[in-house]
């Protein structure tokens, strides 16, 4: 008789939001695996109905404290496609700058505070800082620059207030942008140093068969626009999201699972963006990528942390380019007239593709809205990853097995609050001999 074991961990730390993992094995065969997300639902898709489209940037931001810009921008683009708003090219650049700020702050938080402790066998970023003060202080300095970008365009990093349909409430002045530019001059060097240090840590490796999905734009690394593409040949417009993906509910999660139409799990996020858009990286980011081959681009979720490092470097260079070439727009926001219609918006949140579908009435009020966050899309993929990992952790002690599973989940930088929901990881291991 095969030995039956259940692995449980009390609570998954260092993720945004809370959930649980339940894993049962017979011998080395996984008989049950559930990534349990029981974050209480907040019903955004319910209470946003009847709100003015104008209000969406402020309200959508509240879905996630760590990637509010992506939520604002997906909704804004969906609404602008309905109202047929023409965006000033300078405003479009400011929106890219806004996203650069969010990528920098979110990725560095993950790299140094959520993931690095795993590679060093420590509990948290504060413990990392005690051993490696220079490294952590550098990351904090750079992260502060990310916040500085968000504050320039949005007033504050969490729930920024600057974005609106058509653009921004206010565009930075030339002198404000020049001051940011002076701070960005050394950012790429700092980002390179951050990446070099993270890459020197003992990061595990778990290459596997995965379909990677991201936006793809003909001329630039994707942020707010592009087509939905994958490493298995998917290539459709954002408005065709439903032709490629399907959401379903599972009993153990308050976040809907999103899969490909053929039932397969897929991965969104920095690993996917990099694999599908590496040719659009900036010079230093591109050179850094060369030094990381063959670990990147790859199909190894454990290498996601390195992809984040590349993207921080990219965002620093891109932000500097935008700051240098800045010409204030004629108006900070384009004017618009509400009308009835259906619009689709997709952005690349730090954690990956974020799709929003909005339907408005003639007054511009929201009739229906659907929000597909990156972590909802990665849930099924995380479960598949753990199914592959489980037999390999059997030989480890309980503590090591739990740490391996937790670390694998953290590779996805899951944001459970984002899914408007709660993740506590419980891996419990029980060894019960058969009677």
């Amino acid at each position: 008789m095969a030995e039956r074991r259940t692995i449980e961990v009390g609570a998954l730390a260092r993720v945004e939001g809370q959930g649980a993992l339940h894993l049962t094995l017979e011998g080395d065969r996984v008989v049950e695996l559930r990534l349990e997300i029981y974050e209480p639902p907040r019903f955004f898709e319910g209470f946003l109905r009847g709100r003015a489209a104008r209000e969406l940037p402020d309200l959508m931001a509240r879905i996630c404290g760590i990637c509010p810009v992506a939520y604002q921008m997906s909704a804004v683009h969906a609404v602008e496609s309905i109202f047929d708003v023409t965006i000033d090219p300078a405003v479009r650049q400011l929106r890219r700058l806004f996203t650069c700020g969010e990528w920098i702050e979110s990725h560095l938080l993950h790299m140094f505070f959520l993931a690095a402790p795993d590679y060093l066998g420590l509990d948290d970023g504060i413990a990392v800082a005690k051993l490696h003060p220079v490294q952590v202080e550098r990351a904090l300095r750079l992260r502060k620059l990310g916040h500085r970008i968000l504050a320039l365009l949005g007033g504050r990093p969490v729930n920024p207030v600057g974005a609106c349909i058509g653009g921004f409430a206010r565009a930075p002045t030339r002198s404000e942008m020049a001051s940011l530019e002076s701070e960005l001059v050394h950012a790429a060097g700092e980002a390179e140093a951050c990446l070099r240090w993270i890459a020197s840590l003992p990061i595990p490796s778990r290459p596997q068969e995965i379909e990677l999905v991201s936006l793809r734009h003909p001329h630039e690394y994707p942020m707010n626009e592009g087509r939905l593409v994958s490493t298995r040949g998917l290539d459709v417009a954002v408005s065709e999201f439903d032709s490629a993906f399907v959401e379903s509910q599972v009993p153990h999660s308050t976040a809907l699972h999103c899969r490909r139409r053929d039932g397969g799990a897929y991965l969104v996020g920095p690993l996917a963006r990099l694999a599908l858009n590496a040719e659009h990286l900036t010079p230093a980011a591109s050179a850094a990528l060369e030094t990381l081959r063959p670990r990147l681009p790859s199909f190894d979720p454990a290498a996601s942390v390195l992809a984040r490092g590349i993207e921080v470097l990219y965002a620093c260079e891109e932000a500097l380019r935008i700051a240098r070439s800045y010409e204030p727009p004629a108006a900070p926001a384009a004017s618009w007239t509400p009308c009835a219609g259906v619009g689709h918006g997709a952005t690349e949140a730090p954690r990956g593709l974020l799709y929003v579908r909005v339907e408005t009435d003639a007054a511009g009020d929201v009739v229906a809205i659907r929000i597909v966050p990156p972590t909802a899309q990665n849930q099924a993929r995380i479960e598949d990853d753990l199914r592959l990992l489980a037999p390999r952790v059997l030989a480890l002690s309980h503590d090591e097995a739990r740490r391996s599973c937790e670390s694998a989940i953290r590779d996805y930088d899951p944001c459970i609050s984002c899914s408007t929901h709660f993740l506590t990881l419980e891996i419990e291991r029980r060894i019960r001999s058969e009677d």
Binding site: L12, A13, V15, R62, I63, C64, D124, A129, Q249
Partner: protein, 265 residues
Amino acid sequence: MSTPGSAPRPRLAVHKFASCDGCQLQLLNLEDELLPLAERFEITHFLEASSRVLPGPWDVSLVEGSVTTAHDVERIGRIRDESALLIAIGACATAGGLQALRNRADVEAWKAHVYPQPRWLETLPTSTPISAHVKVDHEIQGCPVSGAQLLRVLLRLLLGTQPDLPGHSVCIECKRRGTICVLVTRRIPCLGPLTRAGCGALCPSIGRDCYGCFGPADDPNPEALALQLRMLGLPAADIARRFRGIYNAAAPFRRVAEALEREHG
């Protein structure tokens, strides 16, 4: 006052209920103060930041998020029992948050709208603040709370004094920074006259309306502002919707929204 090495540090916990994590993130966003703060307090429960999770009791518990499940009603009771000081942080913890919009809606219908299998969900019909369930020692307002205010409260606790957060409105902050009134000069429907200070008048400073994300100031007069907004030509339903925002369940905002909706029919 405790200094590192001279006395036991106060034990600090951060607990999460239904929320976006943004308020606890404000603690992690204190780049310059985070490491010194971790020297002054012993952080023994902060799941978003650390795998080191110790049992209570705690000298200070910061609580983020609103109560929306039966399980969370029990959990906040246990946290209260184990916390010498309990501080509710942010709009969700102090007023139920944006998600308190469910309190006047048919939640069962929303469940059915969002989820194919609504019966798999366990959720209460309401989103309520921490103070609706247990005694709360202090509240820090804001969506998100201001990092500076959070830090100030923690430092005053270390000094053994009471928090001293402002009760005045955003208008005072505009005057202090020299921002010209957007309501008076540009007829922008700003909620600043009612809203508690703390953000630094962010929205008016970029030429837009304050939307009340720090909740009602002390002694607000929402009826008077509603009248002003009517005089700008805004329909009653639109004004009501503005009060049904981040702090929709806060009594002064709820009261005026209900009155406007009655009028609108």
